[in-house]
Amino acid sequence: MIGYVLEVAQAALALVLAPGLVGLVRWMKARLQNRRGAPAWQPYRELGKLFRKEVVVSSNASWLFRAAPFVVFASTVAVTFLVPILAVPLPFDGVGDLLVVVYLLLLGTFFLSLAGLDPGSPFGGMGASREMTVAALAEPTVALAIFALALSAGSTNLGQIVARTMTAPGAALSPGHLLAFAALFIVTLAETGRLPIDNPATHLELTMIHEAMILEYSGRYLALIEWAAAVKLLIFFSLLGNLFVPWGVSMALTPGTLVVAVASLLAKFVVLAGAVAVLETRIAKLRLFRVPELLSASFVLALLAVTSSFLLR
């Protein structure tokens, strides 16, 4: 029973924390630009505002346009039940493994891209096309990273991976793991629309990827999409944090370990957010047609990860 409670609590925590995480990255970036910046909780205010605004829908759009935000949100939230954020093992661990996670996220992307095409705006189509390109090219890297992890853990189920890594800490520092981490980090940047692949703060339609798709959205639909994007960032951070550096994740489900889990999770988030912020300050956006090069680099990293796991087995 406690497991199910924890499962729901974990999902709720993810939902609640996600906008703050985005705010944190933004705040850190502002500071790195020598700006005062908005506080980390600014995204909550924006979401709140959007939920209370009117929705304007294109006259060309169909029901798909209105259904897509819910699909995106639901699929993303569903993932939070499968990803170990605080504790393992959780009862839903067997419902889906890492592959399910990846394809659930793809489900969201799929519908969002369709929604981008629905109003018939050229920007939407452009965004959809680019988003799907990036998603498709990121896919093999994710799969290989999974392969590398699954090899050493003997399972693709996330709880299993975390538990196995905890019991055999040496694996976390193996070259396979490190390479896989690097590969997955690049994929995280791509999947969550971060620099150098996409600039979340751009105003120029022609350079957009994710933003271009959702140019038509407003009000609560926009809020759901933004929120889902934030949750997606949190999911990837959790994967990076907990799969590769699982320490801190509660395995005993006692209050004490849970507190430690929350604390360690926050610490990991801060570190990762800092890394993203520093990176985004340091580098410029890539030209769209050079993005595949970056992704293929990450693919090579992942491939090296797998082969090294094989050879060092």
Binding site: E54, L64, A78, L104, A128, T133, A136, A150, E216
Partner: protein
């Protein structure tokens, strides 16, 4: 046991009656009879398969009907599975065809269309039950021939005859290989019965040769790269319900044959067999989807996706064969089960997609996606069905495509069990390629669905499109339900598939014990997942989110306005993103592969070059294997033909010279022969 002969008789009678009725009756009655008889036959076949698979029976039927060897039928698990496959798609296609062929009335010969459809179904059903080589080959050629003639239905359309020629040429080359293969296997055994082939002990070289021939023959039918060239030509020009049947079932006979021969008759082989199948599968999957991305002809796009999905099926089977060669029978069964699962899944969703494309074609009269758009409002049901198919083929959970791809992934992950790392390393590469394939497939179907159904119509035909008639909808709905059902119930389907393979050469004597609990737990290896719970969760969340929003008092105002286009005045279809544009980024990424030829011509205003009057952009992609593989072949053939033709030069003296030379040579041989 008792119902099996009865069901078999009903099935055969149904198809035969359908074929005869088609020739006899005309008009709506004729179409109805064709559809009804085919439906009866298909359902009987479905039941027959289900009964045998469920009860684990393997009844045999023989008749001294065919010369030389007699007709021999045997229904084991594998046959039963494929009977179910034929039944499922056949039934949907039959019902759909009733409405779809109405538009053919008066334009094309409905008699032959109906008769051949039934003959095709009949030959397919007989083929999967064949228990000797002659029965198999007869049914095989009957299938090829009827499919070929069905492709020719719209023979007055450009490209149809050419497509049919390519189809029959490649499929016949494959057939020749199959004849050789079976006769090699029968090793002088004149009855060519499969039982004798199983028992025969052949030299390794002969086995290898038989395998390569089988791979060629069945690969040609299945449309594996580089033997797939006929597929994107023939599928689009066939009537859509025939395309659905061809893509859903006919090409699957390649899969059936490959399994029957390599697993059952040959009992598996060395690791390179599996490696070859796996490699071909990987290449097919990737190239198939990459070429699909560049297609703007909706049915050609789907046809290329058939290449892709056959590739995925081959990946599963290839991995299974490899594991089998290393004695890892559980993993081997798993891989083949994955392949089979994807086989039936592909039959359902590709059948559905072709039927959907057929409805679109029916409504708009064009297959060119660039002339569609906005159909979701004009034909909402078809759009919804197509969307389900698109999601399924893109392997999105919780639909069926995901379940089988997941299984294939899991099999490949088991590759670490292979003792040789340098061999095992193939598996992660296959994993990566499979992942890339499914990502690209999703991109492709965003394009296919988005450009076809969404936004505003790009042509008057699309503007005035109408919803498909009821019978066509019924055909599609049945497949939609199957896509969902197969996606939700892997826990039930997988053990069934496992039992269908039970006891086939070298595989585990009984079905692998997949637990019948909710999660699909893959024994001995990597992951588990639960499709029903996943679907339930998604459904709950989808229902909950709007509810919570309402409870929390989110704003519910909604206003309809123009599409935002930076304030420009009036939106026309020409401003929309096109399919070409959608695929452009990927075309650049894979430019090395596509080697597109671009042709850009700009007309300037006579007064100033700053005013452009028109821009014409044409770009074509020539698949390189046609250039590298088929052109030299055709060239060589034509060259040889020209040289041989020169022999018949018209001079009677020359002819007499041939004769005299032949005489002298043969006399020399005869005189000095020891």
């Amino acid at each position: 046991m008792a119902p099996a002969p009865l069901l078999l008789a009903v099935m055969l009678a149904g198809y035969a009656a359908g074929a005869l009725a088609a020739l006899a009756a005309r008009g709506a009655l004729g179409r109805g009879l064709v559809a009804g008889c085919a439906l009866v036959g298909a359902l009987a076949g479905l039941l027959l398969g289900a009964v045998c698979l469920g009860a684990g029976l393997a009844p045999t039927f023989t008749a001294s009907f065919l010369p030389l060897t007699g007709l021999a039928l045997r229904l084991d698990g594998l046959s039963a599975f494929f009977l179910i496959l034929i039944g499922v798609v056949g039934a949907a296609v039959a019902v759909y065809g009733f409405g779809y062929t109405e538009a053919y009335e008066g334009r094309y010969s409905l008699r032959w269309l109906g008769a051949l459809l039934n003959v095709l179904l009949l030959s397919l059903s007989v083929q999967v039950m064949a228990d000797n080589a002659l029965t198999f080959l007869m049914a095989w050629e009957a299938m090829s021939l009827s499919a070929y003639l069905l492709v020719l239905t719209e023979h007055d359309q450009p490209g149809t005859v050419r497509a049919a020629n390519w189809y029959i040429a490649i499929t016949h080359a494959g057939f020749a290989a199959l004849v050789a293969m079976f006769l090699l296997l029968s090793a002088g055994e004149l009855t060519t019965s499969f039982a004798a082939m199983r028992a025969a002990s052949l030299a390794p070289q002969v086995r290898d040769a038989a395998f390569v021939l089988a791979l060629f023959g069945f690969g040609a039918k299945a449309g594996v790269v580089p033997l797939h060239v006929w597929l994107p030509m023939a599928h689009p020009v066939a009537p859509s319900h025939v395309s659905a049947l061809m893509s859903g079932v006919v090409i699957k006979m390649g899969v059936y044959g490959l399994l029957r021969v390599t697993i059952d008759l040959l009992g598996g082989g060395p690791a390179w067999w599996g490696g070859l199948v796996l490699g071909l599968g990987t290449v097919s999957a990737l190239l198939g989807v990459l070429y699909a991305l560049m297609e703007h002809d909706l049915k050609r796009l789907l046809a290329y996706h058939s290449v892709e999905n056959i590739g995925i099926i081959f990946i599963g089977i290839g991995a299974g064969l490899m594991f089998q060669s290393y004695g890892l029978t559980t993993l081997a069964t798993l891989g083949i089960v994955g392949g089979l699962y994807h086989t039936i899944n592909h039959a359902c969703f590709k059948g559905l997609l072709f039927l959907g494309a057929g409805s679109v074609l029916h409504a708009t009269g064009t297959r060119n996606m660039e002339e569609m758009g906005g159909l979701i409002k004009r034909m909402p049901r078809t759009a919804f069905f197509f969307l389900v198919g698109a999601c399924a083929i893109s392997a999105l959970p919780p639909l069926n495509g995901f379940a089988s791809e997941w299984l294939v992934f899991q099999t490949l992950l088991g590759g670490s069990a292979i003792p040789q790392p340098e061999v095992a390393v193939i598996m992660p590469i296959a994993v990566a390629m499979l992942a890339l394939t499914s990502g690209l497939a999703a991109a492709c179907f965003v394009k296919a669905f988005g450009i076809t159904f969404l936004a505003i119509p790009r042509s008057p035909e699309a503007e005035h499109a109408h919803e498909a008639p009821r019978s066509m909808q019924v055909g599609m709905v049945s497949l939609v339900l199957l896509c969902v059902g197969l996606g939700l119930a892997p826990f039930a389907v997988v053990p069934l598939l496992g039992s269908s393979l039970a006891g086939l050469g070298g595989l585990a004597p009984t079905a692998v014990a997949f637990t019948l609990a909710l999660p699909l737990h893959v024994p001995g290896t990597f992951g588990q997942m639960s499709a029903p719970l996943l679907a339930l969760g998604l459904a709950l969340l989808l229902a909950l989110v709007p509810l919570v929003l309402r409870v929390l008092g989110a704003d519910r105002r909604l206003r309809v306005a123009d599409t935002w286009g930076c304030g420009r005045i009036g939106q026309t279809a020409r401003m929309e993103y096109t399919a070409t544009a959608f695929a452009e980024p990927l075309r650049r990424v894979f430019a090395e592969l596509y080697r597109p030829s671009r042709d850009l011509s700009i007309d300037f205003h006579p007064a100033s070059k700053y005013f452009v009057q028109s821009i014409e952009y044409r770009s074509e992609i020539h698949p390189w294997f046609e250039r590298v593989l088929y052109d030299p072949l055709l060239h060589g053939l034509r060259g040889a033909a020209t040289r041989v033709r020169r022999l018949q030069g018209g001079s009677v003296h020359l002819y007499l010279v041939y004769m005299t030379l032949a005489l002298l040579v043969l006399l020399t041989v005869a005189r000095w022969r020891t």
